[in-house]
Symmetry: C2
């Protein structure tokens, strides 16, 4: 199984990383993802890395690349489920993942992205628009 599936959920795409990303797999993921954003008009990408217990500079860079590519195609990227040790390693590697949002789990990531999409579409985050009119 040499392919990381990209799941479409409404305006979002979900990618779950469960295997070590080697060169070709990472390239294929990047290519698939940009194609999928283009095809579906997705406005957000969720990358779940809860199964990733060891991260290296290569994988860190790939995540950064994906975020940058998505951004150019007008989709925000949120990394979810990062294990504490992975966060420590990323900082020690000097990869603070700039331009990548993060959230504790998929649900929080989805609501973060949903908020950003609403903000982009309507110009404001809908709350109970009561007093200011």
């Amino acid at each position: 199984m040499e392919k990381i599936p990209i799941l479409k959920m409404g305006k979002l795409l979900l990618v779950t990383i469960q295997v070590d990303l080697y060169d070709r797999l990472a390239e294929a993921l990047e290519a698939d993802l940009v194609q999928m954003i283009n095809k579906t008009g997705a406005q957000g990408v969720l990358i779940d890395i809860s199964a990733v217990s060891i991260i290296d500079s290569f994988m860190g860079r790939i995540i950064g690349n994906i975020a940058t590519m998505s951004k150019i195609l007008d989709a925000e990227t949120v990394v979810v489920g990062m294990q504490p040790a992975v966060a420590i390693t990323l900082i020690e590697l000097g990869l603070p993942l700039t331009g990548v949002y993060s959230a504790l789990n998929v649900e929080k990531g989805m609501s973060l992205l949903q908020g950003k999409i609403n903000l982009k579409e309507t110009g404001f985050i809908p709350e109970d628009d009561g007093d200011t009119e």
Copy 2:
């Protein structure tokens, strides 16, 4: 990475199978999933097998087991993203996956499960489940 992540999304759990399931991994997945259903009170399980291009009787049986376990814990299972060749193989293996619902993709699987959950809770499927604008 010896663990298949289970993502909680509202009342549903999502499992993406990307690697070959061997004995121990399959057992761990079953155990994790029943624990997760128990902990979260999830009412539906989505198993995405779009990355699975070759299926054997072991994996077929595991999917059947998961569905049966979930059913006992009052959660329905939907298998999504099955490749045509996999469907053919399952039938040739004599594994028609009884008790498992299936859907073409995650979105359709989610709406199928949502319909079932609504049906269980209210006794009828609402025509338009109040999407806010």
